[in-house]
């Protein structure tokens, strides 16, 4: 086993009720230390009220070469956007 502390990804939820957001990474020997370090590094200026840490090797990421097949279908379905439909002004706000 490598002596190097594993890499953790850090997610923080800010005051305003938004989702946890990825803010960066750090090295720590275990989850408990990762949380403590994340607090010291990423929340020194009221950045958040809740922290998640996930060991980086547990994250499965999509690969850039899949960009075409993964996202193309969403481009051909314009009717998913509300602006696709013309609603007359007389119908009022919708």
């Amino acid at each position: 086993m490598s002596k190097e502390w594993p890499l953790w990804e850090v997610f923080v939820r800010s005051q305003h009720g938004l989702n946890h957001r990825h803010v960066g990474s750090l090295h720590a020997p275990d989850a408990e230390m990762a949380l403590k370090n994340a607090r010291d590094v990423y929340t020194r200026r009221n950045e958040g009220l809740s922290i998640w840490v996930v060991e980086a090797r547990h994250i499965t990421a999509s690969s850039p070469s899949d960009k075409g097949p993964l996202y193309e279908p969403s481009e051909s379905k314009v009717y998913r956007h509300p602006t696709f439909f013309d609603i007359p002004d007389e119908a009022g706000h919708m």
């Binding site: 086993m1 002596k3 190097e4 275990d30 020194r44 690969s63």
Partner: protein, 325 residues
Amino acid sequence: MYAQMIKSEASAEDPEKLAAFQARIDAGEKIEPKDWMPEGYRKTLIRQIGQHAHSEIVGQLPEGNWITRAPTLERKAILLAKVQDEAGHGLYLYCAAETLGVSRDELTEMLLDGRMKYSSIFNYPTLTWADMGAVGWLVDGAAIMNQVPLQRTSFGPYSRAMIRICKEESFHQRQGYDIMMKMARGTDAQRKMAQDALNRFWYPSLMMFGPSDKDSVHSAQSMAWKIKMNTNDELRQKFVDQTVPQAEYLGLTVPDPNLTWNEEKGGYDFSEPDWSEFFEVIKGNGPCNTERLEARNKAWDDGAWVREGLMAHAAKKRAAKLAAE
């Protein structure tokens, strides 16, 4: 600037791929770690981000020197917070470099055995409390000049690290200027100390931007890749133009008899620093090179048992948890 004299690597890859890559950069797209990138882009970035990270870490030493001797408890708390920020900056940058396929320990080892550099500025000593003012005002000021445009750099993780860092930097510069104001308005002895700090840090601060790179092939490549956003001379000029009025406000004199306002260019004319001194410092012959590297090596060696012990503890806890399941 914390990354000086970064040589960019040539790339011997498929011209079509290279052109497509350059087109993405020209279109303002961010390059992310899993995207295809030229080997030269990757290697140059590791060198640049690594050197930047090392500078943040070594840069804690000259200021750490004064934490225990700060004149008031408030100044001590402020300086401590500032130095702690720098540790964070190092961490953000190491993490950005790691996405390019180099490990933290590898980077650290390259700093410790001298294969990688850090900014020349941190090889100068901090002799008096006024130096804490001059460092925050001038050194962090020069760093900000370089880091603000780098927020738009093409490599996503580097850009995001820069955005975080820039948010924290302005506190650094302002606390430094605040110290300078106090000293400059203080007793004769304090004013002298402030002037002396400016005298010693002025030229080393100008050196932070690196030598003139008008003719450098390396910077042309780095600028095309958007990992360097301005020439060294542009940034140095901007720094002088911003800093001279601040020195005037303090009633201090910039130690340059040739400093004059040039109406035509809308900026100051000023003397170049002594570049032979700069190259000596880069080579390892500055006043504090040996001390700085010794301090980093000692910290690394003394911390080995903690790093290993915590890993062993984590493994033991994991095993115990598995056994209980």
